[in-house]
Amino acid sequence: MDILVCVKRVPMVGGRIAVTPDGQDVDTRMSGFTVSPHEECAVEEAVQITERLGGTVTVLTLGPAEAMQQLRDMLALGAGRALLLETDGREWGPIATAAAIADAARRRAEGPEGPYGLLLFGNEAADTGDYQVGVRVAHTLGLPCVTGIKNLEITSGGARARREYRGSEEVFDIPLPAVISVKEGINLPRYPSLPGRLRAKRAAIDTLRPEWHSEGLRKDRLRVPAQEQHQAQVLGSGAEAAPALVRLLEELGILS
C-alpha cells in the first residue's frame, strides 16, 4: 500500500516558551525545530504497515526550504520518499494548508502511480492545534476520515481504527483509501538507524510551490499567558523532608 504521511515542522520547546518582539512567532533563537509528536508516530505507523504489506511511504510537509531537514529526519525513520510544499516562511492557515495537500494528493492520483491507499496525519499540530487539516483534506478528496486514532489494523476490506472515548473505546471499520489522523501512543517510534540517516542525507526531495491564501481566521499576536511567577515553598531536602510532606498531605486533606 502506498501511504502519504503529512508532518509539520514546529519549534522544539522545552522548559519555557517565548514569543518574538513583534508577537508573530515563537522565539526560536535558542531552540531547534522538530516534527509534532503525533506525526512522528504517524510516520512510524506507515513504515510498520509497509514493512508488513509492502508499498511505499511518502512524507510530506508544507513549510519553508529549511523544513527539508524535518523531511530528512522522517526519511531516516524509514519513509522512502519526501515531498516539500515550499512556502516563503509565512504561517499558513488550515484551509490553505489542506487545499495544498489535497492538490498534491490529486496530482499523484492523476499520474501513473494512481492514488495513495492511505493518508495519515497527526491529530493536531503541537503549535497551532487547529484540529482540522486532515478532515478538510478528506472532504476535498471525498475520502472517509477518522481522527484521534490510537490503534490501527489494515484488514482485507479496509481499516479498523480504535480510539479512546470517555474511558471506553470507539471502533471504526472504514473502507480505504481513507484519511486517518493518529495520536501519540499508537506506537513507539524507532530511533533512526545509521544507514537510514545516510540514505536520508542523500535522498532527493520533490518540491512543489503552492500559492498562499489568506483566510477568515487571522492571527493578531501571540503572547505568553500571565501566570503567577513564584518560587515553590521548599519543605526540606532529601529524606528528612518526609515528616513535613506528611503534614502537608494532612493539611490538604489527602491523608485523613
Binding site: P144, E170, P189, L249
Partner: protein
C-alpha cells in the same frame, strides 16, 4: 440570529464541558445582542430541559434520527449545518475535546467556513466578525485573533473557561429536528466497545503521583506505585518516560497525553517542560520533588522538596506507614 451551543449529557445531566460551552456561548451571544440555544443529539425526552433552563437557555434543539444513534461524524456535522441554516445561526460553539473538535472540523469542511479551535474567549465586533483568544501549544501560549466569517465556528478550551451559572433562569422549549442522513455520510460510524477501566482513571484521579526522567528506569516505579497505593492515587508519567518505553503511553500526562485535574499532583523527578505543564495545569496543588532547585517545575509548583526521589519517596512511604501503625 442565534448562537448554537452543542452540549451533551453524561448520565448525571449536562457534562461539565457542556456547562463551560454554555458559559462561553452566553458571553458571545451577549456581545452580539443575540440569544443562546442548545443543540443535542438524541431524542427530545433525553434533553435535560430543567437544567438548561437553570442555565438561562430558552431553546434547545434535539437532533433525532434512528440513523444518528451511533456517532457518525459526517452525518452529525451535516445535520448541524442544516440547523445552522434553519435558525440563521451566527455562531456554533462546541467543547474543545476530541469529539467536539472533530465534529466542528467536519462542519467547517462541509460549509467551507474557518474554524477556531480551543478558544478561551470570544466577542462580536461592531462591524461584524469577532475577536477571540485561543490556545496554542495546548495553552502554553495564547493567540489574539480576528475571525471574519458568516458563521463563527468555535470550540472552547474546556480547561480554561469556567462553568458559571447565569443570572436569569428561563423556561426551555425543546424543538425536535429530524434530519434524513444520506448513506454516504454514514460511511464512518462508531461502534463503542465495552468500557475498560480497571484501577483509578488518570483523568479523574483525586491524587496523581507523577514520575519523570529522575525515576531512572522501569524498575524505579515500584516505590511510586506503593505511594500511589497508600494515597489512593493514579500514577502518571512524563513524555520521556513513555518515549523510553519505561511505562505505557496511557499513563502520560501532558499535551500529547492525558490532561489531569487532581486536588494534588506530586511530580517526582520531572523537570517541567511546557508540554508536561500543559497537562497538569488543572491540578489544584502541585508538589515537586527534584534534585535541581533551578528546574522549571520548581517555579510552577506550590511546594517543593529538593532531593533525590529515590530517597524521598521511600522515606515518605515509611512515614505514612508509621502513621498508620500508630494507635
Amino acid at each position: 440570529m442565534t448562537v448554537l451551543g452543542l452540549v451533551e449529557s453524561d448520565g448525571n445531566g449536562l457534562a461539565d464541558s457542556s456547562l463551560r460551552v454554555l458559559a462561553f456561548g452566553h458571553a458571545l451571544a451577549r456581545s452580539s445582542g443575540t440569544g443562546l440555544a442548545a443543540v443535542l443529539f438524541g431524542p427530545a425526552a433525553a434533553v435535560p430541559a430543567g437544567e438548561l433552563a437553570g442555565h438561562g437557555v430558552p431553546d434547545a434543539y434535539a437532533i433525532d434520527s434512528p440513523l444518528l444513534a451511533g456517532y457518525a461524524p459526517v452525518a452529525w456535522a451535516r445535520a448541524l449545518s442544516g440547523l445552522v441554516t434553519d435558525v440563521s445561526a451566527t455562531a456554533v460553539v462546541a467543547a474543545g475535546h476530541d469529539r467536539g473538535n472533530e465534529l466542528m472540523a467536519h462542519l467547517a469542511a462541509i460549509t467551507g467556513l474557518p474554524m477556531a479551535a480551543n478558544c478561551v474567549s470570544a466577542a462580536a465586533q461592531p462591524g461584524g466578525g469577532c475577536r477571540l483568544v485561543r490556545q496554542r501549544w495546548a495553552g502554553s501560549l495564547l493567540e489574539d485573533a480576528t475571525l471574519d466569517a458568516e458563521v463563527a465556528l468555535l470550540t472552547v478550551a474546556v480547561d480554561a473557561v469556567a462553568a458559571t451559572a447565569p443570572e436569569t433562569p428561563a423556561t426551555t422549549s425543546v424543538h425536535v429536528v429530524e434530519p434524513q442522513p444520506e448513506a454516504a455520510d454514514l460511511r464512518v460510524c462508531a461502534a463503542e466497545s465495552a468500557t475498560r477501566g480497571a484501577g483509578i482513571s488518570l483523568a479523574t484521579a483525586r491524587v496523581v503521583v507523577g514520575g519523570g526522567r529522575g525515576v531512572g528506569g522501569p524498575e524505579g516505579f515500584a516505590p511510586l506505585e506503593e505511594l500511589a497505593g497508600l494515597l489512593g492515587a493514579a500514577v502518571g508519567v512524563s513524555r520521556v518516560v513513555t518515549s523510553q518505553g519505561w511505562r505505557p503511553h496511557t499513563q502520560q500526562v501532558g499535551q500529547t497525553g492525558t490532561r489531569i485535574t487532581p486536588e494534588l499532583y506530586l511530580a517526582c523527578g520531572i523537570s517541567g517542560a511546557i508540554q508536561h505543564m500543559a497537562g497538569c495545569m488543572g491540578a489544584k496543588h502541585i508538589v515537586a520533588i527534584n534534585t535541581d532547585p533551578g528546574a522549571p517545575i520548581i517555579s510552577r509548583a506550590e511546594y517543593a522538596v529538593i532531593g533525590d526521589l529515590n530517597e524521598v519517596i521511600p522515606a515518605l512511604v515509611a512515614e505514612i506507614k508509621k502513621r498508620h501503625d500508630q494507635p
